[in-house]
């Protein structure tokens, strides 16, 4: 359990953040630049000192202004993955990896070099100088170095922001593996919603130094009132599901979710594996009568929950929230809404194209208890 309540006044802004998380997985901290994301984790790491408040991990007090306690960063046992890799240039990759490990008491070394080298695929890099690593390799080494310090909590400050799109896609699976293998709680700062949806379970949205919202990723990304904050990525919905079976003849996987069974292109993972999928609002359509003879593989009875007013009058579409057992965003034209005379409360059918769920929209999780 991590509990944070901090307040700090800067020249032109104020940080005033309270939150708690007991999530063993990844809690994403999302917000625009200047929202206070990095300031918050710097306070947790002990790099910046809050004016007031407390920071606790389980029973250990890291900071408490009332009791005048403020542990130095080296005593907090919190790993920090920086935006820039910050590897020590005078050491080999291996020595970099072992730096934090060497500073831990022997009895607290739960994770060893071999574990990390294996999970992060670092075996060929060990004897190299950090100067000769690519950006993605350097970040992987930095992950390993932080994990090997056997921290109670891992902070990541936009660890992918210095990489190009392709390298980001290569690194994401490694972060997933870290999350699932080592079970260290992670606070993941990002302003990229696609990363968050893929990696995180819990979401903390910051705005102007305050908590704007705090909750599950599925819930918050579906909330209409948060769209001005979360809506900088393409509109869509996040659904947790479990693989039921694979139909290898047609290369289709069956996923069970609270609304029924979803059929998507064949994906990795054995039956029983938890997955999270994202369905873009534009890949869903709505029919007022039960459709037949249509190509869409996935048809679910739905209820119209809310029709958002368009953000500008000259836009053709309105995002509409429907309920198919889980909330689902649909992007409809204003004309269709008028033609079908759709109103909140109406019964309808949602049609989701099987091909709309592609590999990039999938996040596989090995651990359980994420449903």
């Amino acid at each position: 359990m991590i509990s944070v309540s901090v307040r700090k006044k800067y020249q032109s802004s104020l940080i005033d953040i309270n939150f708690e998380t007991d999530e063993p997985g990844i809690t994403a901290i999302f917000g625009r630049s200047g929202a206070g994301k990095t300031s918050l984790i710097d306070m947790i790491a002990g790099i910046t000192r809050p004016d007031q408040g407390f920071i606790k991990i389980d029973d250990q007090v890291l900071f408490d202004s009332a009791a005048d306690i403020s542990l130095k960063p080296e005593l907090r046992n919190i790993g920090y993955v920086f935006q820039d890799a910050r590897l020590f240039p005078h050491m080999t990759v291996k020595k970099n990896l072992l730096f934090g490990w060497n500073h831990r008491e022997t009895g607290l070394r739960r994770i060893d070099l071999e574990d990390v080298v294996d999970v992060l695929g670092l075996d060929k890099l060990l004897e190299r100088s950090p100067v000769r690593l690519s950006g993605g390799e350097a970040q992987r080494v930095q992950f390993g170095r932080a994990i090997l310090s056997n921290p109670k909590l891992l902070l990541m400050d936009e660890p992918l922001s210095s990489l190009d799109h392709q390298h980001r896609q290569e690194i994401l699976p490694f972060i997933e593996r870290l999350r699932d293998e080592f079970k260290i709680p992670i606070l993941y700062v990002s302003h990229a919603m696609d990363e968050i949806i893929r990696l995180a379970d819990k979401l903390l949205i910051l705005e102007n130094g305050r908590v704007a919202a705090d909750g599950g990723v599925e819930e918050l990304t579906g909330r209409l009132d948060l769209r001005p904050l979360t809506g900088r990525y393409e509109a869509g919905s996040v659904i947790s599901a479990v693989i039921v079976e694979h139909d290898r003849d047609y290369a289709i996987s069956h996923l069970e979710f609270p609304g029924g069974v979803l059929r998507v292109p064949l994906m990795e993972g054995d039956p029983g594996t938890q997955v999270r999928i994202r369905i873009r609002a534009r890949d869903v359509s709505v029919s007022k009568t039960a459709p037949s003879d249509v190509s869409e593989l996935n048809i679910f009875p739905a209820k119209i929950v809310e029709i958002a007013s368009p953000s500008a009058n000259d836009l053709p579409h309105c995002d509409t929230l429907i309920d198919i057992g889980v909330p689902l965003w649909v992007r409809l034209t204003r004309l269709s809404i008028k033609n079908l005379d759709l109103k909140p409360g109406d019964e309808a059918f949602a049609l989701i194209k099987g091909t709309s769920v592609d590999r990039q929209n999938l996040a596989i999780r090995k651990g359980q208890d994420h449903a």
Binding site: A45, G46, I47, K72, P73, E74, R76, N77, I78, G79, Y80, F82, D84, R86, F88, P89, H90, F99, G100, H103, R104, S129, P130, V131, R132, R145, A146, S149
Partner: protein, 229 residues
């Protein structure tokens, strides 16, 4: 190849300069650290005092040393009680040379300290490194090029030290007569030119060797730190 007198002068010069360099190195690192990392009232004054040997006539430094450390001064008496004589000994020559070279040493180390990325040090702290471990495992290795450059500069400056040395410890053959003092003495001696030329050539050779060693060492250190490939 060398006459016994030349060997004596050469050996004494190397001894004095090496001691001057080694003794001022730890102090140089400390002072450079303080100047690079801290702001405090009187910093400008401290900086000024350390740089004085660079701007004062060396004779003035030598004279001040003589005033404070001569055998009859309180400090001189105290050192004599400890059976430790500085004035008119090679130790005094090393002290004079070390003081004259100190600002060069501090400047080189300070520059490299200021170039150390404090983000790296913060990363080391989040990995559990306390102040001592941080210094020895991260900061010190990162400033080795500066330490090498500073030490070679200080060594070369010590080798050439003349004014403060002759004023403080005089020009005693076998005790304080280093290379520059020997050259000076020979130029003042009738028919001493040939011997003086020989010493001049030796001086040039030593200086070139020192510079070459410095270049090679700092290249190696930089390569190890990844500044060059």
């Amino acid at each position: 190849m060398f006459s016994p007198e030349e060997l004596e002068v050469l050996g004494l010069s190397l001894k004095v300069s090496l001691w001057a360099t080694f003794l001022s190195l730890p102090a140089g690192i400390c002072v450079a650290w303080i100047l690079a990392r801290y702001n405090f009232p009187g910093k400008i004054l401290l900086d000024g005092i350390i740089h004085l040997p660079l701007v004062l006539p060396p004779v003035v430094i030598g004279y001040l040393l003589l005033v404070f450390l001569n055998p009859n001064s309180p400090m001189g008496q105290f050192l004599k009680a400890l059976n430790f004589e500085i004035a008119f000994t090679w130790i005094g020559a090393a002290l004079a040379a070390g003081i004259m070279a100190f600002p060069l040493m501090v400047r080189a180390i300070r520059l490299s300290l200021e170039a150390v990325d404090e983000k790296l040090e913060m990363a080391a702290r989040t990995l559990g490194a306390g102040p001592l471990s941080l210094f020895f495992s991260v900061t010190l290795p990162l400033i080795t090029p500066g330490i090498i450059a500073g030490s070679i500069l200080a060594f070369a400056r010590s080798l050439g030290e003349f004014g403060a040395t002759i004023t403080f410890v005089s020009n005693i053959p076998g005790e304080t007569r280093t290379l520059p003092l020997a050259v000076y003495t020979l130029t003042q001696t009738p028919n001493g030119e040939t011997a003086a030329y020989r010493l001049v050539i030796i001086s040039i050779a030593i200086s070139l060797i020192a510079l070459a060693i410095s270049e090679i060492a700092s290249r190696r250190a930089k390569k190890r730190l990844g500044f060059e490939r």
